[in-house]
Subunit: 428 residues, 2 copies
Amino acid sequence: MGSYRPKVVIVGAGFGGLEAAKRLAHEDADVTVIDRRNHHLFQPLLYQVATAALSPADIAAPIRSILAHAANVRVLLDSICAVIPQERAVRLQSGAVINYDWLILATGARHSYFGRDDLSRHAPGIKTIEDATDVRRRVLLALEHAETEADKVKRDALLTFVVIGGGPTGVEMAGAIAELARKSVSRDFRSITPRCSRVILVEAGLALLPAFPKSLQQETLRSLEQLGVEVHLGAAVTEISANRVCIGTERIAAHTIVWAAGVQASPAAEWLGAAADRLGRVKVTPELHAPNHPEIFVIGDTAACSNSHGEALPGIAPVAKQQGRYVARRILGRTQGPFRYRDYGNLATIGRSRAVADFGRIRLSGFAAWLVWCVAHVWFLVGFRSRLSVMLSWAWNYLTFARSARLITGPVQALPTPAAAPLKGAIQ
Amino acid sequence: MGSYRPKVVIVGAGFGGLEAAKRLAHEDADVTVIDRRNHHLFQPLLYQVATAALSPADIAAPIRSILAHAANVRVLLDSICAVIPQERAVRLQSGAVINYDWLILATGARHSYFGRDDLSRHAPGIKTIEDATDVRRRVLLALEHAETEADKVKRDALLTFVVIGGGPTGVEMAGAIAELARKSVSRDFRSITPRCSRVILVEAGLALLPAFPKSLQQETLRSLEQLGVEVHLGAAVTEISANRVCIGTERIAAHTIVWAAGVQASPAAEWLGAAADRLGRVKVTPELHAPNHPEIFVIGDTAACSNSHGEALPGIAPVAKQQGRYVARRILGRTQGPFRYRDYGNLATIGRSRAVADFGRIRLSGFAAWLVWCVAHVWFLVGFRSRLSVMLSWAWNYLTFARSARLITGPVQALPTPAAAPLKGAIQ
């Protein structure tokens, strides 16, 4: 009795997985969402947690709450160990084995040190809430210690912030650190002044924001320089240690180093035994499934996918969300053709009143682009409460130049001891 | 040339130290505030962070920002190692030695396990932001694991929450956990229902809230029981392990145990070589200074102090603030007599719309007391932004029964392995 209800297992509740789950809610399917964290994270605003403008809870919402209304969706806090395609099952860390008719792998990406994971200690990246509060602690502690450091050389190192990588995350981080270290804190400290700080953005390529048109790249460069950021283009990082970065042959004493130079997909390709590109992403078919497995979809940052012109799709939220929606429609039998990405434009922010927006023929920069960016990000934030809270924080920060979440949590005592980690050749 | 400017060193920026610093701002004194954290913490609301109603940044503000307007006050992120009264100096962890003409020790208290510090692993207390997010993680993880646990015995243990200590913190925690575990989460989970959870409050004495009149104690008991909390009075905890609490001879399998049973003052008495009471508090003179050292004041939870009737003053924010104000006035030569505490009343909250308030002849309970409590706590919150944010969160939580800060941060994987820590005799 009763019609056939397919079992859909979604691994990962980022933008792609969550969108698929939402589209399958209240439909004729039994959906299981598995994530190793209890919250969906609005990653595009994570750099604002790292720079003390927002609180973690402002940009994260419990996955359970988001999907609470859908009785056909259950949420498990667990992580995946293996996919067993011949049995149509996934094995989880808790030991549970869950069967599927359709599997959606949306497990995202982490920052990559290109095989040099030991660098994460000296140059953390920003992908999780813990990453962001760790960077926040480093930046704020550097300012605190600089306030009392009598030795000028040490003090200069404490007040030097290096961001590695000139993509959107690197640009946002550099701009936000410059605002924090050069403006927001100026009235709170007695012995350091805005002019003491040095913020350096290093990019191996010849331009910032490679996905943007040249005019906006130049606008970005100009805006960052107005904020006091030194931008090094075509510059390879050759060494990173606790208190030093080498850019080519130049040595820069810097206490705080942030990594925004590269990502590596989660190991979905290994689970499936499928071919991967150099970032570890599964090479999916135009229908977003794994080769030879029409029942296993791979979406978001874990999938290597091209648009109709053969250009690789970027690892951004709109791609993941559209893929999640497409896959849900496919499972429900509502679409047959290949996935097509609709590009609504590209946004990046640089700082207070500064952003760039590329909508094809329409290109904006400065305050207008920043307003578009604010509206778009608040709009897409999950949960009404988060939206209100973020708007309030932004309005407050904008009017007062204050940073409302300037908490140092976790261990506060020690400065890391220098321990050089020299690199063979360039790593960026 | 120039008048004599006394050097005032304040150690600790809790309610007492911060109030003293504020009163000395813009006065004819050079003030140094030393705290090991960069933020002032509004401890009375910490239990709301632990139960996911508020974010850490809502109840904490950078000390630097609070005192930024006062050019005669500097703030150091450091902790104290020793007081050298004969040299009128304090030695700090960074190695710095700072001279004072007046010293104010306001270093507060931590929870105390009465010599059994190993219990902190199984039964954490709530005194810092990290404590609160740790308890939040334990409570939320217990619910998550209960959702998937097939074994009924294990599941019941996961859904049993024990709070030890029937003072204001214990009452607030028990009420808030009951609301979280029995109401807020009910629609988000599929296999656990509000009736599955068990919240137990254990108190060694014969009444809850010993500082309150009997009628309000009974009202508190009734309110907690309406929320579904089992209250054990006159009950001694004899053993605590990872998954078990023994109350007298009864064994209760409980995954989450919260310690709210006792505090121990910071070691100011040791620094000074002064006499201490059994909670480690310095026995100060009626003028709040250390015996034989009129230039060293000890205030707040670190001081043992009585009112004019000879009754010991409780370790609450109003006492610390009034002491901070008094000490500042004394240093400025504006008061001569002994410190007198003005008791404006006593408040404790139990849960949504439930509180008790004792203003001497006027005693309130229920919704009226809860409104008074809300207004008082929002009013005293440091920083306009925090007040707005907290009001918004409370309004949201009240209207929706949701908990806006339900994040599990830090390590999420493992449940602690059972490791019994039997106690000799009663420990409460």
